[in-house]
């Protein structure tokens, strides 16, 4: 069971809702992923449109927890205002805080992020900061009041997996009691399994599932991968070695001596 703020989650797979081929496929993928938390966002809507209302109805029917994001925000002010708007519309104090610093990599602006996190935590939000694997930034975010961290695996949508294994291992080792969710950049289920094997508590997947040829089947594959990764972590993986160590008993080998 994963405890984040007041929530207790069985599922270690959080699912983004963007870029699916249709609302029906999105619904099926949420079920196939066995996700208990999905991310959502806010966008401008003209008075002639109804898409936002339909989308929100669909999400409510799924009966999952929603984690609104501040995607697209580049300043502290934008992120804080968006968080307030999201809290009212979605009826949750949870906010996946994104303050983007660089458009090619969508790398977090960690200075703006820590400032926005400080403001929002003081205002009673439960902040899920989208951050890098930087230990000092992580410290600042925790000091600001964040109860969970969401380090990137690789740039959003890149599908490259865990880019900085050393940094991610150090983060896990440095904050043993803090829920850590790898967010962004995972491409295939083995990446998710690896994150859980390293001791990360969960992963947030969007593009890798939504843009797969068969998103529902891929959602199921990711669900299996996180379960396998968690089970492996709990089972205690062996330490890698540089040299071979015979697995078959050596004592009593024929033709020796």
């Amino acid at each position: 069971m994963l405890h984040i703020y007041q929530a207790s989650l069985n599922s270690r797979l959080l699912l983004g809702t963007a870029r699916f081929p249709s609302p029906a496929v999105l619904s099926q993928a949420v079920r196939a992923a066995r996700a208990e938390v999905v991310t959502v966002s806010l966008r401008r809507e003209s008075s002639g449109e109804r898409s936002g209302q339909g989308f929100w109805g669909l999400i409510r029917e799924l009966g999952v927890l929603v984690l609104p994001n501040t995607a697209g925000c580049h300043t502290v002010k934008e992120a804080v205002t968006t968080a307030h708007m999201a809290r009212e519309v979605f009826g949750t104090s949870w906010i996946k805080l994104e303050v983007i610093g660089e458009d090619d990599t969508l790398q977090p602006d960690v200075f703006g992020l820590t400032e926005a996190a400080r403001i929002l935590c003081q205002e009673g939000f439960e902040v899920f900061p989208y951050t890098t694997e930087d230990l000092v930034v992580a410290d600042r975010l925790l000091a600001a009041g964040c109860g969970v961290l969401m380090p990137w695996g690789a740039p959003i949508g890149s599908g490259r997996g865990l880019n900085n294994l050393f940094g991610l291992r150090a983060l896990r080792a440095h904050f043993p009691g803090v829920p850590l969710i790898v967010d962004a950049g995972l491409g295939v289920p083995s990446h998710a399994a690896q994150a859980l094997e390293l001791g990360f508590d969960a992963v947030l997947i969007n593009t890798a599932i939504a843009q797969a040829r068969d998103p529902v089947q891929m959602a199921a594959a990711f669900a299996q991968a996180v379960e396998a990764g968690l089970a492996a972590r709990l089972a205690g993986p062996i330490e890698p070695r540089d040299l071979a160590e015979p697995s078959t008993p050596v004592l009593g080998t024929a033709f020796r001596g």
Binding site: E45, F55, I156
Partner: protein, 65 residues
């Protein structure tokens, strides 16, 4: 007066944000609002007066990652 609604100029007659939203056709829809980058809660829309040139954002739920 003219306001900048979601990045486009619109002419409105209403003075308060609540009246402007009604006039602009948002009615009872689930939206969040901000004026000049400041959040305006739904409960505060009826007493939030708009001024010429105000930047009004009306946001609705959408897919997100």
């Amino acid at each position: 007066m003219r306001i900048l609604l979601n990045g486009a100029w619109r002419e409105i007659a209403g003075v308060e944000l609540a009246a402007a939203l009604e006039e602009l056709g948002y009615g009872e829809r689930v939206v969040a609002t901000a004026v000049n980058e400041e959040f305006v809660a739904a409960s505060a829309r009826a007493r939030t007066a708009l001024a010429e040139g105000d930047r009004v954002e009306v946001l609705a739920p959408t897919q997100g990652g």
